[in-house]
C-alpha cells in the first residue's frame, strides 16, 4: 500500500491544483456577477489550441504560446460577457438566461475549435523537463511546477481582491451593485474585468493542462464538471473556501480512483457533494446564511 499511497496523494495534489485554478476563475465571476460561466472549459480549450498553434505550428516557443493562449482566452471571455451576458443585466431571470447563453458560447467555441484544428490529437511541450522527487514520489518537473504555481496564483488573487482598490471593487459590486454604482464604481467595466481575469485563469489552466493531457476540443469541458463541484462544495463564495474545496476534491478523487477505479469515481464524487449539501447547505467551508 505504501508504495502506491504517496504517488496517489501527489496526483491528488496535482488534480487539486488544477481544480483550484479553474474553480477560482469560476468563483470570481460568480461572486461578482452572480452568474455561472459554462464556457469556462471552452476558454481553457481555446487557450491550449492557440498556445499550440503559436508554439508548435509557428515555432515561436512555449513562452509566446502561453502569452497568446492566455490573451486569446481573455479576448474571448470579455466578448462573451459583452455579447451574451451584458444584455441581460437587470433581467430577473438573468441567472437562468446566462446558463443558456454561456452554454451556447461553450458549444460554439468547441465546435469552432474542432472545425479549425480538426480531430487530430495535439500536445503541448512541457514547461520544464526532467523529474523531481516530491515526498519520495517521482513527479515530472512540469507537474511539480503546477503544484507550486496554483497556490502562488491563488495568493496573488487573494492579495488583489483584498488589498487593491480595483480588486475590492469586484467584491463591492458582487455584494451590493447599486451601492457600488453610487460610490462611482463603473459596474459594467467591473463585470468585464471579472470576466477578463477569470478567462486569463482559464487560459493559463488550459495551456498547463495541454502538456499533461492531449489537446482535444473537450479538454476543458471534462474537468469543468469537477471544478463546478468544487465551487459548490466550497460554498460559492470566498476564494479561500474554493481553494480548500479544490484540494479536498482533488485528493478525494485520486484516492477514489485508487480504491474504486475510474468507473465509479465521478458518481461517488457527486454523492459526496450531495451529502455535504444535505448537512451543510452552505457548502463545506461556507458560512451559515
Amino acid at each position: 500500500m505504501d508504495g502506491v499511497l504517496i504517488p496517489t496523494l501527489v496526483s491528488g495534489l496535482l488534480l487539486g491544483s488544477l481544480y483550484a485554478l479553474m474553480a477560482s476563475g469560476l468563483s470570481l465571476i460568480w461572486t461578482t456577477l452572480g452568474v455561472f460561466n459554462f464556457a469556462h472549459g471552452a476558454l481553457m480549450t481555446l487557450g491550449a489550441y492557440i498556445a499550440w498553434t503559436v508554439s508548435e505550428q509557428l515555432g515561436l516557443g512555449l513562452a509566446a504560446g502561453f502569452v497568446a493562449g492566455i490573451g486569446a482566452a481573455v479576448i474571448a471571455g470579455v466578448l462573451i460577457e459583452l455579447l451574451l451576458v451584458r444584455p441581460f443585466y437587470g433581467n430577473r431571470n438573468m441567472m437562468l438566461i446566462t446558463v443558456m447563453t454561456t452554454l451556447a458560447a461553450s458549444t460554439i467555441l468547441e465546435r469552432g475549435i474542432s472545425m479549425i484544428w480538426g480531430p487530430r490529437l495535439k500536445q503541448l511541450p512541457r514547461t520544464l523537463d526532467g523529474q523531481v522527487n516530491l515526498l519520495g514520489a517521482p513527479v515530472s518537473a512540469h507537474e511539480a511546477l503546477i503544484i507550486v504555481l496554483a497556490p502562488a496564483v491563488l495568493l496573488a488573487l487573494w492579495w488583489y481582491t483584498g488589498r487593491t482598490l480595483s480588486g475590492r471593487s469586484l467584491r463591492a459590486v458582487g455584494q451590493n451593485r447599486s451601492a457600488a454604482a453610487l460610490l462611482g464604481i463603473d459596474v459594467p467595466r467591473t463585470f468585464s474585468l471579472a470576466f477578463g481575469l477569470s478567462a486569463a485563469l482559464a487560459g493559463l489552466t488550459g495551456v498547463l493542462l495541454g502538456s499533461i493531457r492531449f489537446v482535444t476540443p473537450g479538454l476543458g469541458a471534462d474537468p469543468l464538471v469537477n471544478a463546478m463541484i468544487v465551487v459548490i462544495f466550497g460554498g460559492l463564495g470566498s476564494l479561500g473556501a474554493t481553494a480548500g474545496a479544490a484540494y479536498v476534491i482533488g485528493l478525494l478523487e485520486a484516492l477514489l480512483v485508487l480504491w474504486l477505479g475510474l468507473y465509479w469515481t465521478p458518481s461517488v464524487l457527486f454523492v459526496a457533494l450531495i451529502l455535504v449539501l444535505v448537512f451543510r447547505p452552505n457548502g463545506l467551508f461556507g458560512k451559515a446564511a
Binding site: 482598490l165 480595483s166 451601492a179 454604482a181 462611482g184
Partner: protein
Amino acid sequence: MTRLLEVTGLHAGYSAVPVLHGIDLHLDAGEAIGLFGPNGHGKTTLLHTVSGLLKPTKGSVRFDGQDITGAKPSAIVAAGLVQAQQGNTLFGDMGVQETLELAAFNPRGRSGAQTRLDEVHALFPRLAERRRQRARTLSGGERQMLSIGCALMCNPRLLILDEPTLGLSPRLKGELREAIAEIARKGVPLIVVEQDVEFLLALSSRLYLVEQGEVARMIDRADAPDHKEIMDMYFGEQAH
C-alpha cells in the same frame, strides 16, 4: 446664485409602472434643500433617477450646467453628485476602513483621500474605532455613519442623503442630525429626505413636498407654515 441642480419635468418608473409624473425642482450653489412626503410617493425614485440608477422616460437633469440625464452612475459621481442610499447596508463582508478607502476609488475621490478620511473620522469618531469591523456587524446607526462617510470620501459637490435617520433611536437620530448640520455648515450643498419637517426646516432653505410623483408644494423657510399646516399637508385636512 448659480443653479447647481435643475430637474425639469422628470418622468420615471419601474418597467411598466410610472412613479414620477413630471418633477421640477432646483438647488442653488451653497444651498441645502429638503424633501418630504408620504412613503411610496416617489422620493427615492426621484433620487435614484437623479443619480443615474434609473433612466428617466421624460424630462431632464442638469448638474452644474451639464446635462446628466440618463448618464451612468459612475459618470454622475465623477461629476460630483453623490448619494448615500436609504437603509444602506453597503458591503456586508467588507471592513469599515476598507469600505471608506474603496469609496475614494473613483477619479474624483482619489486626490486628497487621506485628508478626507481624517475629516470623516473627525465627524464620526466611531468609524475610527471600528476600522477593522465588518459592515454587517455594525449597528444601524454606525452603518448610516459609514454610508455618509463613504459619500463624503467621493468628495461631493452635492450630497444627497435619503432618510439618513430612518429606524434609529432618538439619541442616534440626534447624533446623526448634528453631523449632517455640521456637513452643511462646511458648505457642502445638500438634498436631504426626512420625515421630520422641523429638522429639515432648521437645516435647509427650501422644502419640497413630494406627493403622488409630483411636487405638491414648495415651502420657503422665509414664509414657513406652522406645524399644523404641515401635518395637514401630510395627512389631508379631514384627518384631524
